[in-house]
Symmetry: C2
Subunit: 431 residues, 2 copies
């Protein structure tokens, strides 16, 4: 039960559950929720537990509802370009299954080899390709949900459009298990991209300079299919682990991807990188080279976790303010005397400063916590958000209040009370 | 005041308002809502009144809040690809304003020369390009809203991503004025399409055959930027009005648009049309020819309105079932002895059967009403929805109940009660 009591947010507290239930179907989920509703027992639902905000952490006295065993792809309809899945289906498994039909499920969080579609929906997960293709909510057509009163209801649709009633499907996406338990998901699919992607790389000698490359790309009107940033801390951590020779490429890398097959767009993106002061740049259509570079991006987080507990930020700012925000993050690292590594879905303005301290150093931990909150406040001050894609969970509750204000928090509470009047669903999370 | 008391849904009842208010800014809106809240006076908000479901019709004793005068584009940020507008900005005006910056606001309802962004947001309006580019909700980043208690709140964000709190922005989109009054809208923009579009036309000798062309295109995996259907009634009505010679082209036309610049895609779409039994087909890159054909689509509705009161359907079915649904629509026309013309965003499965009766023929009117409800039930039976893009308003309330079921209606009511406890906002609409 302990293994199911927390997600990957090493810094978030977790309570002690009283029971772990692993249902096999929606009817079993319904029965569990009904019992919890009757006895006013808190219920915490989870998938693979790869979350980074503590949203799936146990609360004292709760029932843990682990949906990782409900992992069947129920239907793939190639003509309608949709799939119906249980919540425990792993993201990469869904991609592989639909690829056999020439189809593509775009949302690709870095956790895609492990995280589940149910968890992705609960957090409205983003990923690398969102800069062009949008986030999880953009691909969810319909849901089956067990409500707080223990009713199994069907929301949304299988059609491309539909406006009958309020958008409850969209409301449940990103609600982090606080409004209901998702037992089935209908997702929209796209055709598999036909053109071989081109990779464009720019190296910079500072974070802020790389941020200028991002702002230049945004202002150019080019729409890359990925625009990622990886800094020297991350490159070094990956090299120390996998010996890939990444640190030789530069201090900070921008990794762009163009998937239109249009060579001129790749050229234009490289030109943006160069004009913003890249110390070096290149572009390539070699899939192995591209895979190596993007795997460096994916490996950055686990590589850093090897060095100590990671406190993960997830701020998102207007794209033109990426250099300003990166500068402020560097200043906070210095002011609070902590190491901050940076990976970013830079093309969205979605930055992941990763604050790293030595395990057991309580003073450093307190300084890291201060830096964390200061970065959240800066993101809000720049017109951004405290969480671009990871969710509020436990770690961003104060930041969210600062961002939304009391009036909007009150509206959120009104929705929560309307759909979960006894507050049994994932209590203490989000709001 | 009478002119502001109804939208374009000729068949929907309208009540008698007690006052018409035309506010100039959000503060005036706030003041009006506060007074209505204090005195429990119903408030009906409207834009241009181009709606087709009666959603903006007055109810007895209401205050009409007309936002068409709040028509300023407040900001266009080309680097962040967003615009901030007041709700009364006309759709085509926004498009023209952002085009000067090389940007594009995709949602394009047929009413775009008249309808307002506020109304588009309130109904989650669709349009021609949605088959590839999505609907209004996909472009709304943030809103300012006056709540039922008279508070002016800011929802959503200006950043590309953000998951702080529930998706209240998405919830307000499509809520048809029943949850709050929208006073400002931040929309996401795309770069203006660079490639000259190719138009692909297929002519068919029956509705069902044209439906097969739609299903074939869906199954092919091609993503056209438009795939419209116009039948013989509409072509004749446009010809009678504008003398465009459309009826010479065929009985039923499919109009496709490919905007990727890829000649092979246009060829493949034409091939789908041919294999499905087109009596004639062509493709062209001539912009004037394309404009003439698509204007026939746009003119169909006003052309038919010249013939008598039009009862407008808006069903949406899975794309592969378009031929089946078109066959059923023809059967209902015959069984109920009414004329039904068809235009459709066929590529989405979104069909607009238009039921036409002679003004003053009460018996025909009753038969039309029966055909209308029978078509709604068939759409639901085929796994579709009673409204793809027009909204529920007054005309689709029974159909929506049939589609959603009591359990989901109860969830909709819970949301409504949470956000508008005294039921002053557009009462009697939607739920």
């Amino acid at each position: 039960m302990a293994a199911y009591s927390r997600d990957q947010a090493a810094w978030a507290p977790a309570g002690r559950p009283v029971a772990l239930v692993k249902p096999e179907d929606a009817e079993q989920v319904r029965a569990v929720v009904a019992v919890c509703a009757e006895h006013r027992v808190p219920l915490v639902t989870r998938g693979a537990g790869t979350g980074l905000s503590g949203g799936a952490n146990a609360v004292d006295g709760c029932v843990l509802l682990a949906l990782d065993g409900m992992d069947r792809v129920l239907e793939i309809d190639a003509d309608e370009q949709l799939a119906v899945v249980q919540p425990g289906v792993v993201n990469d498994h869904l991609r592989a299954a639909v690829a056999e039909h020439g189809l593509w499920y775009p949302p690709d969080p870095a956790s895609s080899p492990w995280s589940t579609i149910g968890g992705n929906v609960a957090t409205n997960a983003g990923g690398v390709c969102c800069v062009k293709y949008g986030v999880t909510r953009d691909y969810v057509l319909g849901l089956r949900v067990v409500t707080a009163s223990g009713d199994l209801v069907t929301l949304g649709r299988r059609t491309r459009k539909g406006v009958a009633g309020y958008d409850l499907t969209g409301l449940f996406v990103g609600s982090e298990g606080t409004l209901g338990v998702i037992t089935e998901i209908t997702v929209r699919l796209l055709p598999l991209p036909a053109k071989p992607p081109q990779t464009v790389v720019g190296a910079y000698d500072s974070l802020v300079a790389a941020g200028r490359g991002v702002a230049a790309a945004a202002a150019s009107g080019i729409t890359p299919a990925a625009l990622e940033l990886v800094d020297r801390y991350c490159l070094r951590a990956v090299d120390d682990w996998k010996n890939m020779g990444l640190t030789d490429l530069g201090d900070v890398l921008l990794l762009g991807r163009i998937d239109t097959g249009d060579e001129r767009e790749a050229e234009a993106l490289q030109d943006c990188f160069d004009r913003a002061g890249a110390t070096w740049s290149t572009r390539s259509t070699d899939p192995e080279e591209a895979e190596a570079l993007f795997s460096a991006r994916r490996l950055a987080y686990p590589a850093l976790e090897r060095l100590g507990p990671v406190l993960t930020e997830d701020v998102c700012v207007p794209r033109g303010l990426v250099p300003e925000m990166l500068g402020r993050i560097e200043a906070h690292a210095k002011a609070h005397d902590v190491h901050i590594a940076n990976i970013a879905h830079a093309g969205d303005g979605n930055l992941h400063p990763l604050i790293i301290v030595q395990a057991g150093d309580d003073e450093a931990r307190a300084r890291a916590q201060q830096a964390f909150e200061a970065i959240l406040d800066d993101a809000v001050a720049l017109g951004g958000t405290v969480t671009g894609e990871h969710g509020v969970g436990l770690l961003k509750k104060r930041g969210m209040r600062a961002e939304l204000g009391d009036d909007v928090i009150a509206l959120n509470r009104a929705i929560k009370s309307a759909l979960d009047p006894h507050g049994i669903l994932n209590p203490g999370k989000v709001i």
